[in-house]
Symmetry: C2
Subunit: 370 residues, 2 copies
């Protein structure tokens, strides 16, 4: 497994070298994890100019092996002393001593204050911008990463399926969300991929709704959005249900519309498809139904080591999908005061010859009356 | 209640004016909440030069009132258009148009990339550093804030107390942590103040230990650290127990040592006491017991809208405690391979005439054998 991380680092080094930097400092935690196989809190990763070094604020697990090469990870572990407490500052000093003349850093992650402290420890070392180079590498996943996402999606399906078998009326959004999170862990998740959202009645269909003490009532829409974190990889699934025996006409209409939009978005997923065309495929159906104003600024996004990664499936996004890119497709409509519908899947973009988009979250999207 | 926030903003404006800035931009979420009474995701707060403006990426709850003064909050709500998507960039433009010549920003929170985008939208506007001005204001709490902390501590005491009445042997750290978090919400918390830590056997006593699938066994130390978030204010409590009928001698010895250190730390809390003297009071007892090496770099820290605020109770911290400053006192010793003890309370510094330090977390600190 460690070869994977070493290979990723080689690819990043190549990019840096092409951009004129002999060394790079990675500080964003998901990026550190992607390149080093783990990210102890506060750790930063220095690539080159000679060896690769993982600098941690405290030695992981009180590991006495610091300063030595970790053969498995092919990384040297260092715990800077108190004098250079911030590992990023210590890393700059390390790069200077190793003879680097330019160090590419993550300006979209480092604060102004931290960047200044880094600059002052080695005034002659030029700090360049690594920008989103690691995030770009992370977009296309390998099959091991997709396998983790597949398990993460399966866990969320299981948790959701069990919830649907229980009595829902009278329970609060908050309790349903907590129960889902417990079930995620029961089924092997390292935790929730993001705060579980449960919305009932007027709260249903709202993106990122934080669960309240509102109780589920007969006739409500109930919308649920959850995901599992499995070995760092995060899935996302969203479904909307109706509580009671018979949905109202407006509920069926709205559901059918959002379902049609979501299907159009899924069907637009293909290698070579423009991000914004996927967005438009779903959006134009909601627009056609007269709900253009109520639609979120984007229809989906990438998932992986973070729940919200590139690509963005949005009207102004530039770029094209590749095979092996996992994304969400999650259109929704929320009508203030009444509630709404959101349907959300995690899929992997695949060639048509490979069967087209691979659906990871397989819970039914029929409108269930619970 | 809104007067409180307006008063806080006046105090910050006064500080900025004294430092030569006619306007300030607050972006750190806890700081925005402190000054505006709430912090919608991604919102930033612009103070002056004329009115105070809360800029949100999306209108809170689809509120159509944007651009108008919120009478209750005494704030104008703005949702910038897509052209200036980042509210911080829009705020800079707003400050420029309102005639500010200098804008103090939070350089310890803004990333380099974001700061650059802000600079480029108004090149003639000087961006100064607000540094930790809001964090400094937040250190001393008013009685309403302390009342929230008191409830947050009570909730954590209740959740912990219920856990102690249940069967523990055979359950995993992960499940115990989840159950504690559920109980926090049952008792009225908005959520956990931080990820609940449960450590058994060799994992006990480790600061910030992430719960694993290890099961509680007879003879284990079991250490638990949790807290409630109540209206944004966060408590913290940590206790260590022994599983089984009779603790081993080494367990009793270690417990007594940490307990003595924790008591010394609590007793050192007084207005005017140096931060580092509180740290030393506890640390020297652990040192005396031969465990100096195993002790964390600090003995405690402030709590409030964030679980880890100033002041830091650490050997190199500069400053003195004031009355009405809530802090944790949480010494611990972890012996690799064997486990350890951590005892953690949240207290409010009070004058001796007012009865001395006010203990918010009242669960017993006797060594319980469960």
């Amino acid at each position: 497994m460690s070869q994977v991380y070493a290979d990723r680092r080689v690819r990043l080094r190549d990019r840096c070298a092409a951009a004129g930097s002999t060394a790079a400092l990675v500080s964003r935690p998901a990026n550190v994890r992607y390149l080093a196989g783990g990210s102890p809190p506060g750790a930063v990763l220095l690539l080159g100019p000679a060896e690769d070094v993982l600098l941690c604020p405290v030695a992981p697990g009180g590991d006495p092996a610091q300063g030595r090469l970790d053969e498995d990870l092919r990384l040297t572990l260092l715990t800077p002393g108190a004098a250079l407490g911030d590992p990023a500052v210590a890393a700059v000093d390390e790069a200077r001593r190793a003879g680097a003349d330019s160090l590419a850093v993550e300006e979209h992650h480092l604060t102004v204050a931290r960047h200044r402290a880094m600059g002052s420890v080695a005034p002659k070392l030029r700090l360049a911008d690594l920008a989103g180079a690691v995030e770009q590498l992370r977009i296309v996943k390998d099959e091991d990463e997709i396998a983790c996402l597949r398990i993460a999606a399966e866990i969320a399906d299981q948790a959701l399926g069990e919830l649907l078998e229980s009595i829902l009326v009278g329970r609060t959004e908050r309790h349903l969300a907590l129960e889902l999170e417990r079930r995620l862990v029961d089924h092997g998740a390292d935790g929730a991929a993001f705060p579980t959202s449960v919305g009932t009645g007027p709260n249903s269909g709202r993106s990122g709704h934080r669960p309240t003490d509102r109780r589920v009532e007969e006739g409500d829409f109930l919308s649920v959005c959850l995901g599992a974190n499995y070995r760092g990889y995060r899935s996302e699934i969203g479904r909307t249900f109706v509580i009671g025996t018979t949905p109202a006409d407006w509920q069926i209409e709205l559901y059918d519309l959002v379902f049609a939009a979501q299907r159009a978005g899924r069907e637009a997923l293909a290698p070579g498809a423009e991000y914004r065309d996927v967005d438009r495929a779903a959006r134009q159906i909601l627009d056609g139904g007269g709900h253009g104003e109520a639609v979120e600024p984007r229809i989906g996004h990438g998932v992986g080591l973070e729940i919200d990664e590139d690509p963005q499936l949005a009207p102004s996004a530039m770029g094209k999908l590749d095979a092996c890119v996992p994304v969400t497709v999650e259109p929704g409509v929320h009508l203030p005061g009444r509630g709404g519908v959101r349907i959300d899947d995690t899929l992997v973009v695949r060639q048509e010859a490979d069967g087209g988009p691979e659906l990871l979250t397989i819970t039914t999207k029929e409108l269930l009356a619970l």
